[in-house]
Symmetry: C2
Subunit: 225 residues, 2 copies
Amino acid sequence: MNRKAVVLLSGGLDSATVLAIAKSEGFDCYALSFDYGQRHSAELRAAERLAVSLGAIDRKCIHLGLDAIGGSALTDEAIAVPNVLQEGIIPVTYVPARNTVFLALALGWAEVLNATDIFIGVNAVDYSGYPDCRPAFIEAFQTLANVATKAGVEGLRFKIHTPLIDLSKSDIIQLGTALGVQYAETVSCYSADDYGRACGLCDACRLRKQGFDAAGLQDPTRYMA
Amino acid sequence: MNRKAVVLLSGGLDSATVLAIAKSEGFDCYALSFDYGQRHSAELRAAERLAVSLGAIDRKCIHLGLDAIGGSALTDEAIAVPNVLQEGIIPVTYVPARNTVFLALALGWAEVLNATDIFIGVNAVDYSGYPDCRPAFIEAFQTLANVATKAGVEGLRFKIHTPLIDLSKSDIIQLGTALGVQYAETVSCYSADDYGRACGLCDACRLRKQGFDAAGLQDPTRYMA
């Protein structure tokens, strides 16, 4: 019997690659998405398709009212999504404590499934401005998981897998392409339209486009006219 | 100006006491509740009333689809709420990773408010069976908070306050009574009816009743006929 893993799947390029990696490592994958009032809900439909095409055993989408607390351009209509990469500062697209919340819910599902492996597509290269994408955060969460849960108390050890953490966008795209990820199915754009077409201007679009260029691969992204 | 604190407020006896304590310590209190598919939604209406009567500055209720992952008698209709206290084992009323999820969301709101103080009514005496009610869990979460957030990265230090952690139910009730908490307004019962009346039989009811008895105070709980 394969080991089970909970894989956080947003529907973007990174998490699709992570799902393909987890599967290639022999895990039975349980994909977890969140409907958290994000502007780009096309991402959620992409996650649904990707869970099927990348062979997840099950997929759940948890509704999460993050818009109640606001504080991010991704969940608060009053904050504009910027079109310029700002280095060295935490971007307004940062959602307060998002990965803490997402990993906590993944941990809850892992407990129900009797799984101790969780995969998350954090990346310390492109998203160095996000505190909850750094190795120190992941280590602290892993420590927490082992004291927070029944399984941990009973001696099992949780592992938070971050296979993308040191990879460039170009590395990620090359790896995923080798594993058969159809990137046309993924949505990265913060302002994607209802058809999942990308704006081509926001941070996420620029990083993605640069990644395909650097990988020497054709960008399969569908852009708005 | 007072310091701000996010206070987790379920509507039960413990969290109402915590809100009164935070207020008595001079914090401006922001009460946070969760609608997580719990059976006892009378608790939520109690939280709403308590936030007002105990002088919270603001109150938010975050919708959280924990029922999607199941695994607890409190969120899964297929699991019965037991009427007998079981010592030394983790009860079926344990919700997987619940306090991790709740604290993560409190942390998110604290970031938005520029607050670094979070209050939670965990108790290691009565709920020793819950892994996420122990001091080791709270310490691990505090460590996590400081690496997970913008404020933490910028050098601020989060403090997770657990004023009830070593108190008996009787101590809690005496303290809260001295601070003016109207316990008739609180709902502890896992199977409370729509009017907030308690069953008198479940774990939570028994602990509560024993607490009033031990404190030598009249139990103001409204029970079903």
